[in-house]
Structure formats: structure tokens, C-alpha cells
């Protein structure tokens, strides 16, 4: 290739990959292929190996909310009879399945559903409801939530049996054929992507971090929708290279002085992304740790490990292991404090959050703050309450730095 042709920045490539994944699904739909709606932590090795086009309702809902449609879609679902206590991603999904279009972001309607409950047990009922409403098949891979780490043999056998069953059913449903050689190739590419993603994210350990932590919220989309593709692996590798270069040059995509470094816990408030980010940026706070690195990288060396890896996602894993990941990240990435998002939508995640906050505060020796919000419904977020909490955190971090400087 001509070395003089300048490469597109990784973030542009990643955005294009995410857009292309949706575009590919649209084209497949037009060709008459069956398209699925798929849970974010469903084993993508299955769909990628079979070459089955899927789109992701969670990513769709986040995109709709980020573009300002969250409240309207949630209200529409509520007017259909769904409770405002339900997850806002599910409400947006129900509204979209009924409306079939949305000015903010469109995805093809599904011919089948692929659910995996490792990230969320309530999702089973969300997908079951869609299956009944749309009268389409639902395939579920039930990942038993762990009560001890690591995942045991019985669980691995149970997941493996479902994995094989799901492949057989998808072959029948779509007419596509499973190819073991292709499967090995997809696993190898997925590993390459995951390692590159983890490597890129890990550069936040440097001071200043070479990137703005909120970039992760955007870039992670590709880790969900295209982890098993060479394009994704290459783009993540380029992202890691760019971050490494930034470290060498002492520059960052965080366009403010990095006065404080924090861990951000929980899903982003997509509908309030701009306010939540700008508030931190204006105070010189960069996010240098999130759970999204490990959450969307699945590392394994053999089939059993692949099965086990899908039980190591947040919410499915044991609390102690999840805590350990955060404490290690907080220490390795040198954070001064932590911000916890109590997400109205996510009862599962919020359920352990106060205890996670307490233990992280003690084990990492950092101040913490909790704020109320939602992943897609802006009605349960208050700008003034968020600002008050963040400013107080800053005052404690500032005092800690002053004390540290005096020592």
C-alpha cells in the first residue's frame, strides 16, 4: 500500500465499522436474509461464524437516547401500557418494535431474537415479550450467574450444550451452515480484537491519560457489534497505537487540563451525555477507569474457556471478582476518586452499587460519590443534583492532593 496515504484516525474507522454493521444488516434484509435482534453479550462467535446479520437493541436504544429521542420513545412505550419502572432500553425497544421507525436512528426489524441473560436476567422477559408481540422465534442462551469464581465444569457443560443447540436451530432458521474452520478463524480474530481493545483502554494508566474516558463509551460499540471482524481488530490495534503515540508526545483526546482522574461506574447517561461529560471536563476531571474494558473483551484459549468467558461479564460474575476488577483498575489507573451512577433502569447493577462504593472507597482509599440517573430516560436525572455531588467530590480530591503534596 502507498505509505503516503494517510490513515483515517481510529475513532473514525471505529465509527464507520459500527455504522457499516447496521448498514450490512439493512442490505441483508433487502436481499431477503433473516436478520436478528441480539443481546449485547450474546456469544457473537456464533452469529459471526454463521454469517448471520444481527443488530443490537441495547446499542440502538443508547443511540436513540444520545440523539435526544429517549424520552419520547419511553413515553410512547408507557402510553402502550408499559410501566415507567421498566428498563428504558426495553421501553425504547418496545416502542421501536411498534413504531418501526424513529427519526434518531433506524435498524431493521427482526425476524428472530437472540437473547443472552449474562448481562441482565430481566432481558429474558424483554425478549420474550418482543417474540410474542412480533410473532417471531426467540433463541435463548441461559448463562447461569456465578456464585463462585471461576466458572465451574457443570456450568461450562450447560452453556456448551446450549451453544451447540443454538447453532443447530440457527442453521434451520436461516439455512446457513456451520463451518468449524471459520469458527476457529472467528475465535482467533475475536481474541485479537479483545486484546487490542484491552491494550488501548489500558493506556489510561499513564498521566495524563492519552484519551478522554468518555471516548470508551463510543468506541465500545464496535467491541459489541463487530468484535469478530478483522476490521475491528485492526481499528482497535490502531487505537492502541494512537494512544501510545499520545503518551510519547504527552497529548490527549481529553481537551482540558487533567487535574483529577476518576473511575466512572455504570452505564453512561446517554440522554444526558453532554452535560455529564462537560461538567467533569469543566472541572478538569478525566475518566481513567471504567468497567467497559474488561466487560466487552472475552479472553479464552479453548472452547471451555470461551463458554466460561461469557459468565465473566458484569452482573453475571460474583461480587468479589467485580470489586477486585474495579479496585485493581482504580489503583493501576491512579484515580483520585470514583463516581457511581445509580441507574434507575438497571436494578441488577444498582443492587450492589452502594456496597461496591463502600468497599471501593475503603480498599482503594479514595473518595466516592453516587448520583441518580438513567441510561436512556432523561426524566430521572437532575443537572443541579449531579453538579452538587461532583463539586463536593472535587473539593475532597483537591484537599487530598493538597495533603499529599504537603507530605
Amino acid at each position: 500500500m502507498d505509505d503516503h496515504i494517510e490513515r483515517k484516525p481510529a475513532k473514525i474507522r471505529l465509527r464507520e465499522i459500527a455504522e457499516k454493521a447496521t448498514q450490512d444488516a439493512w442490505e441483508a434484509k433487502l436481499r431477503g436474509e433473516k436478520v436478528g435482534w441480539c443481546a449485547s453479550n450474546f456469544p457473537q462467535e456464533i452469529t459471526t461464524t454463521l454469517g448471520i446479520p444481527v443488530v443490537f437493541p441495547e446499542n440502538h436504544a443508547a443511540g436513540v437516547a444520545a440523539k435526544g429521542g429517549g424520552q419520547r420513545m419511553c413515553e410512547y412505550a408507557e402510553s402502550m401500557g408499559y410501566s415507567s419502572d421498566l428498563c428504558s432500553y426495553s421501553r425504547i425497544s418496545f416502542a421501536y418494535a411498534a413504531l418501526k421507525e424513529c427519526p434518531e436512528l433506524n435498524i431493521p426489524q427482526p425476524d428472530f431474537l437472540l437473547c443472552c441473560n449474562n448481562i441482565c436476567n430481566c432481558m429474558i422477559k424483554w425478549y420474550e415479550n418482543l417474540a410474542v408481540e412480533l410473532d417471531i422465534p426467540l433463541l435463548l442462551i441461559d448463562i447461569p450467574h456465578l456464585d463462585a469464581f471461576p466458572c465451574d465444569e457443570d456450568r461450562i457443560r450447560y452453556i456448551r450444550a446450549q451453544f451447540d443447540d443454538c447453532i443447530r436451530k440457527l442453521e434451520e432458521l436461516t439455512g446457513k451452515k456451520w463451518d468449524e474452520e471459520r469458527f476457529k478463524e472467528v475465535m482467533a480474530i475475536s481474541q485479537r480484537s479483545s486484546r487490542a481493545w484491552l491494550k488501548a483502554v489500558s493506556y489510561a494508566q499513564y498521566t495524563p491519560s492519552p484519551y478522554s474516558g468518555f471516548d470508551i463509551f463510543n468506541n465500545m460499540a464496535v467491541a459489541v457489534v463487530a468484535r469478530g471482524t478483522v476490521e475491528a481488530a485492526e481499528a482497535f490495534e490502531q487505537l492502541a497505537e494512537e494512544y501510545e503515540e499520545n503518551v510519547k508526545n504527552g497529548v490527549s483526546t481529553f481537551k482540558a487540563e487533567e487535574k483529577y482522574r476518576v473511575l466512572f461506574e455504570g452505564i453512561a447517561c446517554w440522554a444526558n451525555l453532554s452535560y455529564t461529560f462537560k461538567t467533569l471536563k469543566n472541572l478538569g476531571i478525566n475518566v481513567t477507569a471504567t468497567v467497559y474494558g474488561p466487560a466487552f473483551s472475552f479472553l479464552y484459549d479453548n472452547l471451555d474457556e470461551l463458554m466460561a468467558a461469557y459468565s465473566y461479564v458484569p452482573n453475571c460474575n460474583v461480587f468479589e471478582r467485580e470489586l477486585e476488577l474495579r479496585v485493581n483498575d482504580a489503583i493501576r489507573h491512579k484515580v483520585d476518586g470514583a463516581i457511581f451512577h445509580i441507574n434507575r433502569s438497571c436494578k441488577h447493577w444498582s443492587g450492589t452499587l452502594y456496597e461496591m462504593e463502600r468497599q471501593l472507597r475503603e480498599k482503594a482509599g479514595i473518595p466516592t460519590v453516587v448520583f441518580d440517573g438513567d441510561q436512556a430516560d432523561p426524566r430521572v436525572f437532575s443537572e443541579a443534583q449531579y453538579l452538587t455531588r461532583i463539586e463536593a467530590l472535587v473539593e475532597i480530591m483537591e484537599e487530598n492532593k493538597r495533603k499529599g503534596a504537603r507530605k
Binding site: I342, R344, Y354, R358, R361, P367, T368, V369, V370, D372, V380, S382, A384, Q385, T388, R389, E391, A392, V394, E395, I396, E399
Partner: protein, 244 residues
């Protein structure tokens, strides 16, 4: 405040930013001190709306201000429970009055001063009466709803059943107190405990917290001003440090 040591004027106006409240509060506090804005060396703002007060030379988060103000009112305080109209918070205070850590109420209005205002309105009494009425309570009733609107319905239905207002007043105080105690337990309570915010003046809530925690709750007639005192002290620190 004068020289970071003496309160020479104060005013409390119960309306928020975006109204004439802040201007009226400034005017009344200056009048109380016998001063004009021109006499002020520095003006500081805290609380909701702090960023919109044009006279403010310094703006501080209310959590740090409450910790500092409480320490000034009660030197040696280690834990502060601040219950205001908008929110409730438990603060751990470091020696000298710095904020060590905090937890705040969740999104619900229950457990804040607003809850008491709503309940006083239903009982058709003023806040001062509500704050004393629990002393006459003979029977223990419970208001358990965590939502202010639900609790409102609960009180109305109790009233229609003939429950006495004094018993309801005690139940309302306990409801606010229990939520405050929950925050204190989450934070980790170290004595002495001091209460700030408007609800510190509500005797019923203070008594209910003491009964629940079985420790004394200290407060001060000026506790509602703790945030403003803290802001004044922090601004005083800034100008004296700059002058050094």
C-alpha cells in the same frame, strides 16, 4: 460575617433562585448588619443556584460549606446530618472542618424538608406547630411510604380514620428521621453528631433521631445558616490567604 469570627447579619428567604429570593435575602442580610454591598470585602454563594448570583466573588459546593459551618457552630463535630428543603446529606468532618466524605439522599423528596412542608399543609398547621406536636402524641402510628405523594395519601387516610394529628406529627417526624439515620449508617457515624439545615429546627425530627440512634443530636439556633456560614468562612480563608 466579620473577620471570619462573628455573624453580623443574616436572613432566610424561603424561595429559590430565578425568583426575587436571592436579591431579597441579600438585601435583608445587609440591612440586618447595617451595611450595603459596597461595604463587603467579599461575597460568596453556595447551595442550588450558587452559580447564578452575580454578586458572588466565590462559589463553593454546599457540602463543604455545611461541614465547615457546622464545625464553626460546634467545634469538634465529626458527623453532620444536613436536611434541607431540596435534599438530605450525611457528612463526615475532618478536624478543622474539612469535608471527609458524604452520602446524599436518592432522587426522592421523602426525607427532606419538602416532605415536612407538604405534611404540614395536609394537617393544616404551620411548620413550627408540626415540629412540637409530636410531644403530645399518645399512640404510635406509622407513615411508611417512601414517596411523598404516597405518604400524603397515607396521612389523609389516617386522618379520615380519626387518627389524632399529634400522633401523625410524631409519625411524620419519625419517617424523616429514619431516612436521615439510614444515610448516617451508610456513611458510618462518629460522634459527636450535629444537625444543620432547616430541619435542624424541627424538634420532632431531632427527638426522633436521638431516640433511634440513642445518642445526643447537637444543633444550634443558627444551624439553618450553616451553609452560608461555611461559605463566608471559606471566602474569608481565600482573601486572607491571598493577602499573606
Amino acid at each position: 460575617m466579620r473577620d471570619g469570627a462573628e455573624i453580623i447579619g443574616a436572613a432566610v428567604i424561603p424561595v429559590g433562585t430565578g425568583t426575587s429570593g436571592p436579591a431579597r435575602a441579600m438585601e435583608a442580610a445587609l440591612k440586618d448588619a447595617g451595611l450595603t454591598q459596597a461595604d463587603m470585602d467579599v461575597t460568596a454563594a453556595t447551595g442550588y443556584g450558587r452559580n447564578t448570583l452575580s454578586e458572588a466573588g466565590h462559589v463553593f459546593s454546599e457540602l463543604s460549606c455545611h461541614a465547615r459551618g457546622a464545625y464553626w457552630l460546634f467545634p469538634g463535630v465529626r458527623t453532620v446530618l444536613d436536611i434541607g428543603g431540596q435534599d438530605a446529606k450525611a457528612l463526615s468532618v475532618l478536624p478543622g472542618g474539612k469535608l471527609g466524605g458524604f452520602v446524599m439522599n436518592d432522587k426522592c423528596a421523602a426525607g427532606t424538608g419538602r416532605f415536612l412542608e407538604v405534611m404540614a399543609r395536609i394537617l393544616d398547621i404551620d411548620l413550627d406547630t408540626l415540629s412540637r406536636l409530636d410531644l403530645e402524641s399518645q399512640e404510635c402510628v406509622e407513615i411508611s411510604s417512601t414517596c411523598t405523594v404516597f405518604a400524603e395519601s397515607e396521612v389523609i387516610s389516617q386522618l379520615s380514620k380519626g387518627t389524632k394529628p399529634e400522633d401523625l406529627a410524631a409519625a411524620i417526624s419519625r419517617a424523616v428521621a429514619f431516612r436521615g439515620c439510614g444515610l448516617l449508617r451508610r456513611l458510618g457515624l462518629t460522634e459527636p453528631l450535629f444537625m444543620t439545615g432547616g430541619v435542624a429546627r424541627h424538634g420532632g425530627v431531632v427527638r426522633a433521631i436521638e431516640a433511634e440512634l440513642k445518642i445526643p443530636v447537637h444543633t444550634d439556633q443558627r444551624a439553618q445558616l450553616a451553609g452560608a456560614i461555611g461559605a463566608a468562612l471559606m471566602a474569608y480563608d481565600k482573601i486572607t490567604r491571598e493577602g499573606e
